[in-house]
Each structure stands twice: as C-alpha cells, then as structure tokens.
C-alpha cells in the first residue's frame, strides 16, 4: 500500500514536472543523450550520424541537463528514456553505485590499455577531457597574467573577476593559489581546517568577484569588458576565439576532468549501446571531434592525430602539467559527500558582503 501511494504521488510529480512520458518506452528507437546545443551538434556530425549510417541503426537524441534529477526520475518511475548518456564523473560514480548504469563488459569496447587510465571505470568509457582555465581579454588587458596566483593579485589586476557560483572548482582553486600542491588538494579539503582555509583565501578576492551561473556567461563577460579575468571552460574560450574575440587562457593550475559514455541499466538497446560506444571510442573520430570542440581525446592514439597547433589549445599533454584532476576517486568521494553541506555554506557565504 505504501509503495502504491509512493508510486501514485510520484506519478503526479513527474507528470507535472516532465509532461506525460510516452507509455510505449520499449518501442522507442536507440536513444543517445548528451549535453545539447552546439556541442551535441558537433557530436552528431562526428559520431551519431556516421554511426547510424554504418550500422543501419535508427537513433533518437535527447538532452541531459546535468545533475541528478533525470536519473532520479528513472529510478522512481522505472521509465528508461535513454540507452546511452554522456555525463560527468560525479554523476557517473553515483549512478554506478546506485545501479543506474550498466557495469561494462570492457571486452566489448576497446582494450582498456588503449585509453587514458582515468577514462576507464566500471560503468563509464571516457570520451573527452575538459577543463576550466583562467581566461582574459587580450585586447583590453594591460599585463597578461601567467599563473593561477595572478588571479589573486588584485594590485596588478584590480578589475572584476568571473567565477562559477558554487563551491566546486572554487575551493580547489583557492587551495592551489594558497600553495597546496594539486595532489594534496582533496586531502586538505577533507579536513574542516582545509575548507576554512579555502574560504579564507576566497575572501581575499570575493569583493571583486562576479559569479556566473552558466558556462556561456564567462566569455560573454570577458568580451563585453564586465570582468578583467575569469574562470572559464576552455572549450568556451576556444569557441569565442573562433568568433573573432581575442580571448586568451592560461593553463597553470587548470582543473580538468573527464566526461564518459554510460549505458543505462534496464535500457532496451544495450547491444546498440555497446556498438555505439566502441564506434565513438575510435581515435580517428575522437581526433576529428577535437577540431569541432576544443576538448582532449581519451584514446592514447587520439592526440597524435591532431595538428600540433590545435593540440596546443587542448586540455592534453603539457597543458595539464600543473593541473588538478577533478575526476579522481578522492575528488568524487569528497564532492558527493560534501556537496549539500558545502553548497549551504557557500550560499550563505556568497550572500554576505
């Protein structure tokens, strides 16, 4: 009875929130969900359409909005609208633990040694390396910054700074700027003193910070002169360069992570899912994708197939030398554990002047 009440009330909530989901879920075509927008358009050209043509598989696309809501709805309603989804490591690990994603049979994909070690996990096949960097507008800046520490140098760069609104990324940046080695960041953050230290370091720049909600805002603000320096996704900065904006980035202290393909547990087209992921993990296709979007390949042979001048602006190789990997088990454990508590603290901190 309790279960029935739960189901009924869940139906109300989900129907109200998402519109009525098609009842004929198992009759749908093979469905891939990714981040939408121009990013998914590039994926369509390089991966989806060629896969559909070579394999003769009819496919549908959907957009994953990030976060946990869509997987929660799948768990609660048993409706599985996607077969394959691309997502960040924190949701991947949580979903793998909670049984939302299939534990992969890697023999059906590629030899695990062909990929970056961090791209191989129980439930996910890494497909891109993305990163956040410090960016600036080279047309208007006096002296170009060179390191993460410069972001905290308010004498040389007294202008506004753009940062993402939320504790993730910022606490890490703060500790690195405060002299913590990238390898030790999560060990320090795991102590209450470490978190206090990160907030204290952020206090130094807080009066100058304009917080962004969406990744698109950072390059817009830099181009419009709203901010002098900004934390930004490297791919967004490269796209702005393509549009003729003279935005530049520095790689010191970059935080990088991996997005992976995962197959949803209970999805009807799991074989097609494996076929698609194998198809998309080809180094040549990954290299082709880096031309459309400035994210690094995960296949070891991928970066060698990219022209050198393009490779220079990708989160790969030497660019990551002083960077922090934000997709490690330590990082994920920390953020899944402390996300809510730190977000509450963040929302309180950020509103105090």
């Amino acid at each position: 009875m309790r279960i029935i009440t739960r189901k009924v009330s869940m139906l109300f909530a989900v129907a109200a929130a998402l519109g009525l989901v098609s009842a004929a879920a198992d009759a749908r075509d093979f469905t891939i969900a990714s981040w939408g927008g121009t990013y998914q358009e590039a994926q369509r050209n390089v991966y989806f359409t060629p896969f559909g043509e070579t394999s003769g598989t009819a496919f549908l696309e959907d957009v994953y909005l990030g976060g946990w809501a869509q997987f929660q709805a799948m768990q609660d309603t048993g409706q599985i609208p996607w077969d394959v989804v691309q997502l960040e490591t924190s949701e991947l690990v949580r979903g793998c633990e909670e049984g939302v994603f299939v534990k992969l049979d890697w023999s059906r994909i590629v030899p695990t040694g062909d990929l970056l070690p961090d791209a191989v996990t129980d439930c996910g096949v890494g497909t891109i390396v993305w990163s956040v960097v410090i960016a600036y507008n080279a047309d208007t800046i006096g002296t170009a910054p060179a390191s993460l520490a410069d972001f905290w140098d308010t004498k040389t760069w007294p202008g506004k700074r753009g940062m993402r609104n939320g504790p993730k990324l910022n606490l890490e940046y703060a500790l690195m700027a405060d002299g913590v080695a990238p390898a030790d960041v999560y060990a320090v953050l795991n102590t209450p003193e470490g978190v206090d230290r990160a907030f204290a370091k952020l206090d130094e720049v807080k009066p100058l910070v304009q917080w962004w909600e969406a990744g698109a805002q950072a390059p817009e603000w830099l181009a419009a002169g709203d901010v002098e320096l900004s934390v930004a996704y490297n791919g967004r900065i490269s796209n702005a360069q393509k549009d003729g904006k003279n935005l530049q980035m520095i790689w010191d202290g970059t935080i990088y992570a991996i997005d992976s393909w995962a197959i949803v547990e209970g999805a009807p087209h799991q074989d097609a899912g494996y076929d698609f992921i194998r198809f998309a993990t080809d180094p040549g296709r990954q290299a082709a994708f880096t031309k459309a979007y400035a994210y690094g390949p995960t296949h070891n042979d991928g970066i060698g197939m990219v022209e050198p001048e393009r490779a220079m602006i990708l989160p790969a190789g030497d660019n990551l030398a002083t960077g922090l990997f934000g997709g490690s088990q330590d990082a994920i454990d920390f953020w899944v554990d402390y996300q809510e508590e730190l977000t509450e603290r963040w929302n309180r901190w950020v509103a105090q002047n």
Partner: protein, 409 residues
Amino acid sequence: MTAPAGSNLEVKLRRAQRRRSFTSFLLVAPLLLFILVVFAGPILSLLYFSIDDPKLAEVMPRTAKIVTAWDGAELPGEDAYAAVVEEIRTGYANRTVAAAAMRLNYEISGFRSMVMRTGRKIRRITGPPYRDALIGLDERWGDITYWRAIKASAGPYTTRYLLAAVDLERRWDGSVAKAPPERTIYVEYLQRTFWISFWVLACCILIGYPMAYLIATSGRRTSRILLALVLLPFWTSLLVRTAAWVVLLQNKGIVNDFLLLAGIVDEPLTLIFNRTGVYIAMVHILLPFLVLPLYAVMRNVPPDQLRAAASLGARPVAAFLSVYLPQTLPGLGAGCILVFILSLGFYITPALIGGASDQMLSYLIAEFATRTGNWGMASAIAILLLLSVAALYPVYRGLVRGGTGFRFG
C-alpha cells in the same frame, strides 16, 4: 409506512432538487477533476515527499528495526553490528546500499563514502564478533553519533526536511534546536524573497497606479495605444524579456551607452548582477498584472463623482482620497496580490540578472531538485513558499472586502 400526501410532494421536490444539483455537479465535474489532478494532487505529493523517508528501511530493514528499538544512549549491541555487516554486504553486491548511504549522508556529511568504503572491504569480515571487525574497518563505526544518524534515518517518516527548511534540526534525544550557523540559510532566503517582492510591489504601485489612471481617463485613441504598450510585453515570453534586459543593462549595454552619451554619468553604472537590475526587470515583467485589474476598476468609476466632490468643496487631494481611491481599492488589492505572489516565485529573472546575493527561494528549490536530487528538501522549501503565499490570503480578503465596503457603505 405510508407517507402523508404533503410529505410526498416534499419528497418529489427534494428528488428534483437532488437531480438538479447532480446535473450541476456534472457540469463542474471536469473542473473539479482538473483541479484535483493538476493542483491538489501535486500539492499533496509535495507534502508527502517532504516527510517520506523510506530509503534506509528499504535497503537495510533489519538494521532499521534494531536502531528504532534502540534508545540511543550508548553504542548498540552486537546484533546491530551484525545486521549492518550483513545488509551492507548484500546491498553492496546488488548495488542498493548506495541509496541508503546517500540518505545517511544528509545526517552527517562523509557518511556516504564511509558506507561505500565499508562495502568495498566488507569481504574481509568473515565472522563474529562483528562489532570489533566493523570498527577495525573504520573506527567511526565505534562513534555513537553515526549510530544516532542511522536511527534518525530509519523512517518511514521524517521531519528533518521541514525542520531544515526553517533552519532547525532534531537532536538525537528528540529535542528541536537551531541548525549550526554555517547551514542556516533558508530563513534568510525567505526573508530576502519577501523583501524583494515587497519592493517590486511598491515600485509597481508607484508606476502602475498613475499609469492605469491615465489609461482609464484619457481619450479612446490614446488609451488604446497606452493599453497596447502595457499588453505588448505581456505577450512576450518571460525568458526573452529577461534576456533582453541583460542586453540593455550590461556595462556596455544600451542604457549605459545612452547615459554616457548624454553626459548624465561619467562611468557606466552597474545595473546588472545586483539588486537594482533585478528590481528593474521584475517590475517591468510584473507591471501589467497590476495595471490591468486597476484599469478594469477605474473604468467603472464615474468621472462625475469627482466633479461632484469638487463642487461640494473638496480639494483635489481630498476628493481623490475619499472618493476615488476607495473605489479603486478592489482592483488595487487584486493587482497587489497578483504581483506579490507571482514575484515570490520568481526564479529565472534573479538567476540571470541578479548577483549571488539576489537569489530567491526558488533558486534553492531548483538546486535541490535538479542538481543533487534531494526531493525531500526541494519539497520542504516548496511547502515553505506555499505556506507563505497562503498566509497572504487573509490580507487579500481584507483588502477586497475593505474596498467593496467603501463602495457600498
């Protein structure tokens, strides 16, 4: 028993009445059904989600049962440890324990990874005594606060989300206390939500009342044009209007360009990513909701009454205050309530135009519902918002009745 003739008629009459009320019920039935499905249903399920707490008991039923019976004063006995070992073992193998671990993490941050790490190493425990073995894996299993957290999560219902939404928490002994300062944000957000809504309403009245008066009293042509000006933005999507304000208000935006060009300011004003921008955009978006009901009422106020008041010696201000204003109060009341309630629920406009300290309660609801998937907390905050709106109902009643009272009294 045979009924007398008189009451027979009565029965017939009553039957006819019943039939009539049944027909009228049928007529409103679609509406009733609609309200039940799209209004009452979601609100009830919202209430339910904010107290529902089944996760731990689903995954670890034996543990839940034992800790429910446990008084929480001292570490529980060997049977509790045995139950935890067994249920983490099976739950880890079939990937169900993570959901329970997530629930425990709401009580103590870090509990989730503690359970998952225990799961990874659980095969090392081969037999009793389980208590020593579990503490050997992670010494926090010997810390009573973690056991109290399990007790608090044992379900099937919880008050933690509702309490947290008003910055309170329940201690293990059942007493309710204030949450630690770094976690108390919800009341502040509620206050800010009301504060922003209040100022938006004040600006709307200041701009909207004269505007409605102008529309209601000017000639047909002018009033039609003015009305179109009010209605035109009304037909544009909220998101589009918000995005348009971003373009207008930014540092190198049209408003600042104009001000600089006209020499009114020397440096661009900061009109965006702060409270000013939020007020400007929200007032613009909500203004029609005040102007339209006001206009409807003002159109029906006969202009001769003001002239009559003047001829009886009232000064313009006195005539306005004692003759005109009271008659427009019902429209003003309805408009105020519309604007205020709508602005309480604003999300996208403050998110895009406001800074970090200009976000309202809906921002937190979105955060919990989409990012972390904590529907209990999202529902609890939604209820907080709902109750604050419901609290305004008597104010509305008072305003409207006050208005009609003036009109007929």
